[in-house]
């Protein structure tokens, strides 16, 4: 019995840790195209911002593979998965057979096909290598100005890193506000003002049409309205798509927007599982499958996949989007449905906006159940709300306390509180 995993990040680590809880012996092989020990991808913005150094990038201790009895093939690319003969082909030649396979290939950054995107000084920002290359480019070419394309979470983290590098930054976002996928208008505008105070030139409702070089290197960009933005560096942070390139059509693995998986994280091919940013798994709030590329999901899905691969039946009960990022030192959290459609019935908003303190809190209810939340400036105990969303708790008994100053577990009905504190079915 051999477990093979393609990928070496949160989902693969989650799977390894789950498998080793019940199966200490059967061999596990991790194959990954990046050469590094498992590392924290989200830390690349901290690395580029020189907030952490390379020694702090590792996601698990040095002896992780040894202690979990894992054989690694790092810096090795998989070109194909053959589900008939249960083997994977390597780009450099050779094959590896599996009994149980996990596909955890993550996401792939998207670069629009526009003139000048192949110039020197144009980057995407998703890997450790990207961070190193941008860092080197900043140093080698004395970069003073940067253009970040995309005002989503990666764009924001990129911007924050470049602020730390003292660059003069323009942030361009196609939508009429930044963070439009995770925030509502109020939180977006609040974040834009925070960035503007840090001297970021925020441009919304526009996009880059062309990047113009001087010689082989970036010199400026042209926006849709013809305006020229001088920039020594361009980072595309438009989005990440499930990385499913190694799955051929005849593999019998159904791929929609991401790899389709069932509640055991199994694909449509026997003994092939998938987890993390490459899949579309169940979103319990919209009652449908879709890719939600976030770290906690990747680990959880990997862990569920690993248990099932080892024969311990576990079910993925679904998730929903959630993100926690600091915008120039201001903590923000968004969970679930934060900006519900105005024309749909059943939604109710409870919010609180303290303009002086720059604190914004918003809860979205749907038929008296919490389905979304935004916190800007004050994120204390946000997880209690996430828990109420996850557990589909009817909030009617404590609705008026939801955003009160001392809201806490004490505000919850005694039955639910005791279920939380002492576990189901146990009396104190």
């Amino acid at each position: 019995m051999r477990y093979v995993m393609i990928g070496n990040s949160a989902a693969a680590v989650g799977a390894v840790e789950a498998i080793r809880q019940s199966d200490p012996h059967n061999p596990i092989t991790i194959i990954a195209d990046e050469p590094h020990h498992t590392y924290s991808r989200p830390l690349i913005s901290y690395l580029l911002g020189q907030v952490v150094d390379e020694s702090r990038m590792q996601y698990r201790p040095d002896d992780f593979y040894e202690r979990h009895n894992v054989e690694t093939m790092l810096g090795v690319e998989v070109s194909n998965v053959n589900t008939q003969d249960k083997m994977v082909s390597l780009s450099g030649g050779g094959t590896i057979s599996y009994d149980k396979l996990l596909i955890a290939t993550g996401g792939k950054p998207f670069v629009p096909p526009l003139p000048g995107a192949d110039l020197e000084g144009v980057f995407t920002f998703t890997t450790w290598q990207d961070a190193r290359e941008i860092d080197r480019y900043i140093k080698d070419h004395r970069v003073e100005s940067a253009l970040v394309v995309g005002g989503g979470l990666i764009g924001l983290k990129t911007t924050e890193a470049l602020i730390e590098r003292d660059l003069s930054i323009t942030l361009v976002e196609l939508a009429d506000r930044i963070l439009s996928a995770t925030f509502d208008r109020t939180a977006s505008k609040l974040s834009e003002r925070i960035l503007q105070r840090a001297k970021v030139d925020v441009r919304t409702g526009t996009t880059v049409e062309e990047i113009i070089g001087r010689g082989a290197r970036v010199d400026h960009a042209v926006l849709r309205d013809g305006e020229r933005i001088n920039c020594d560096l361009v980072v595309f942070a438009i989005g990440v798509r499930p990385n499913t390139g190694l799955i051929s059509e005849d593999a019998g693995i159904e791929v929609n927007r991401g790899i389709c998986v069932d509640e055991h994280m199994q694909t449509t091919a026997p003994d092939v599982y998938a987890a993390g940013d490459c899949v579309e798994a169940y979103d319990m709030l919209i009652d449908a499958c879709r890719p939600i590329a976030i770290w906690p999901n990747a680990y959880r899905q990997g862990s569920i996949a690993g248990s099932n691969m080892a024969g311990v039946l576990k079910t993925y009960d679904g998730s929903f989007p959630m993100n926690s990022i600091e915008v120039c030192g201001v903590p923000t959290i968004s969970v679930g449905i934060t900006d519900p459609p105005r024309d749909e019935d059943g939604y109710e908003i409870i919010d609180k906006y303290d303009r002086d303190a720059q604190i914004y809190k918003k809860l979205v209810l749907h038929h008296n159940h919490l389905v979304g939340a935004i916190f800007v400036g004050d994120i204390d105990r946000a997880g209690i709300y996430t828990g109420l969303i996850h557990d589909r708790v009817d909030v009617r008994p404590f609705k008026e306390h939801l955003l009160s100053g001392n809201f806490g577990l004490i505000s919850l009905p005694i039955g639910y509180r005791k279920h939380l504190v002492v576990g189901e079915g146990i009396e104190v």
Binding site: R60, A382, T386, N406
Partner: protein, 154 residues
């Protein structure tokens, strides 16, 4: 593993647990120094909730399936193999607050003392009994052995 049980019926809201927790996590571990001389003041790793006559202390449940462990992107949050406690390596933590986003107990706080890092109960690492339990005058907090399957957040 041994876990802290909360008996809200016995809690008198005296907040001795909070004070002793703060002192335990101060530099000097001496009450007067911790409150008068150490600046910024150390943080208690638990939260006392109070509403009218009802009160209780809430600290990390050290869940068997811990949401914070799964969400931690740096690997700072880890399980101590000996005690089973969920601990945060504050040197490794960068303060992304994913753990705060997912902890259904609201048991993790932002520590802004020095570098920002997640601040949570460590079961008074190395002590036989956590100080909140040892100093609770009414057994509202007790430290009991528990089979792992009895507890755990989803």
């Amino acid at each position: 593993m041994k876990r802290i049980h909360v008996n809200e019926e016995y809690c008198i809201g005296c907040r001795l647990c909070e004070i002793h927790c703060l002192v335990q996590h101060s530099q000097s571990r001496k009450i007067i120094k911790a409150f008068k001389e150490e600046a910024p003041r150390a943080m208690a790793r638990l939260v006392v909730e109070e509403e009218g006559p009802l009160s209780f202390a809430m600290q990390c449940r050290h869940c068997e399936e811990a949401a914070c462990l799964e969400a931690c992107m740096t690997g700072a949050m880890h399980r101590d193999e000996e005690t089973g406690a969920v601990l945060c390596d504050e040197e490794k933590c960068v303060g992304c607050w994913m753990c705060i986003m997912v902890c259904p107990y609201g048991a993790i706080q932002r520590s802004l003392i020095g570098r920002s890092a997640a601040s949570k109960c460590d079961l008074c690492y190395g002590n036989e009994t956590p100080v909140c339990v040892a100093n609770c005058p009414n057994e509202a907090l007790i430290f009991v052995d528990e089979t792992p399957s009895d507890n755990g957040a989803q």
